[in-house]
Amino acid sequence: MNFPVVKGASYALIHAPHMVIHQGTTQTSERRKNPESEHLKKLPEHLRSFEDVVKYPPNQTYIGNILPAELKEIPRPWYENPIQDAKREGKYGEIMPEDEFLGLIKAVDSFELVLLEENFQAAVKEKLLAHPVVGDLKELAKLDKNPAKLEDIQKLVDGHLAEPMYFEGKLVGCVKKAHEFDQALTEHVMFENLVSKASAVFSLKLLFAKTDLKPEDVDYIIECSEEACGDMNQRGGGNFAKAIGEVCGCINATGSDTRSFCAGPAHALVEAAALTQAGIYKNVVVVAGGSTAKLGMNSRDHVAKGMPALEDVIGGFAVHISENDGVSPVIRTDIVGRHKIGSGASPQAVMQAIVTDPLDHAGVKLSEIDCFSVEMQNPEITVPAGAGDVPTANYKMIAALGVKRGDFEKSQLNNVVEKIGMPGFAPTQGHIPSGVPFIGFARDLILEGKLNNAMIIGKGSLFLGRLTNLFDGVSFVMEKNSGKVEEAGFDKEEVRKMVAEAMRNFASALKVD
């Protein structure tokens, strides 16, 4: 079978401390209920500088500069053990500061909803034009247009007509509402969607910068963030994918949006694999920008425990799936796990549906999978908030399921966890940690012969949408490429055998006659 391949992956982080304060839902909810709260007063003291964010070991892992195995060797807490010579540029991506990102939001805005204060706009334009990855965007020309006066921005924000944007503690811009009263086009919704679009554009531009893929060669884009764009008549109408592709110059691509909470990216990657294997499209990109709502989600616990508020970055990623090149790791489309509607919601049922059922179906043993990329949330963020070490809990569940099935001895449980696992290093941006952060590493480690395969797992909590209590989960296996590429349509060897057999039959028939 000609499996599709993973040709490349990119990863973006955007430092957004002011958005933690002004747009993170923990803070906006608190401000609504208790504007004088201690948390809101103390939070600013717990926000990190851009330099601290760049030096933070899990962030350096996310952009590909250190391996998860290397992160594991760095003593915890990681925020007290920075990587001193760390750079914002990474092997697979980059960490962008907030001012440049605000400029990028204006650049990707198609409806003149974003206003930036004139001096801020001029300064950030220079930075973006010099940026090696986004500096060539023709949309940066928008940073020459409509410079705003601070008092005009202030008036719009005070009148609840625009969502404010801050830098270095000062108001520097805003996103206006896109309709007089449409709840799907409020200033807040437009701000969230433009942040998602801009961070996805950055991620896709990074993919083009870090790999050989050219924008014009992309046939299809699947966007899989957790936002929804539309108006009051079709609230989630879409289409982020084409909006992102348009900015990035993907003139030959179309696309659509796929959603399933945190499992969205895993669904999108399986869809991308199917589309390329079927020959419908040659090059499919799966992309997602990040979320402002989740910034500082657990900051109440971080602040109470005297830690930095570590959820200060927006995440993004892009993955290129293409037809088999005989080199890149394949996606084994015959080993796709899915949590079925009838699977049940207990942890055991979920793990069985997405981990062992697909392996059993393909005749692959649990012990034959070298590595599992699960929900890769950074434990330093989740443990202080009482949510535990999410990746480790997942590895224990996989190992415990193996024990129950007889794949491993109970005494081996901790060794198995050690062998198949790695520390979490992704920001808690929902869809961002779910399986995808390891794809870049998995591709390189498989190409280097250090891994034979890896299972990528996405899980999602559908109950949050209040339409179903069902859980969700999807998995697939990346594997070393055999190097054999079958020609489309027919197998030459098979045809040769069939012709030989027909000739033999014909000869026998002649003999009988």
């Binding site: 209920k33 109440r300 049940g344 207990s346 942890p347 055991q348 049922a349 793990m351 009482g386 949510a387 535990g388 809990a393 224990k396 569940m397 190992a399 415990a400 399921l401 024990v403 129950k404 109970k410 449980l413």
Partner: protein, 99 residues
């Protein structure tokens, strides 16, 4: 504890009283389970939800403590794997404090 769950538990406690009503927790971690136990017994310690300052006096149990009360095959299917995964002793010790 989730604010909506707090509201639902408050409503049930008001309807049925706290004598014949217990709360069964499925928390994966000792501290979080303890917080949930405290919320339904003494009130929401984070003062964020409907149980802030409301002491329902409900008795909380973790499902691990109720193994003998549950059909063996159901427990086997739904919970047994997690006995190997979670720190049972720490969770039970924490939840017990609030009974």
């Amino acid at each position: 504890m989730d604010l909506e769950n707090q509201a639902r538990i408050k409503e049930l406690a008001e309807k049925y009283g706290n004598e014949d009503l217990i709360v069964v927790l499925g928390g994966a971690e000792a501290e979080a389970s303890g917080l949930a136990a405290e919320t339904v017994s003494q009130g929401d310690p984070t003062f964020a939800g409907p149980l802030a300052g409301v002491s329902l006096g409900l008795k909380p149990y973790h499902i691990f403590e109720l193994k003998d009360q549950v059909d063996e095959s159901v427990y086997e299917d739904q919970v047994s794997m997690m006995e190997m995964v979670l720190d049972m002793d720490a969770i039970i010790e924490e939840v017990k404090k609030y009974r």
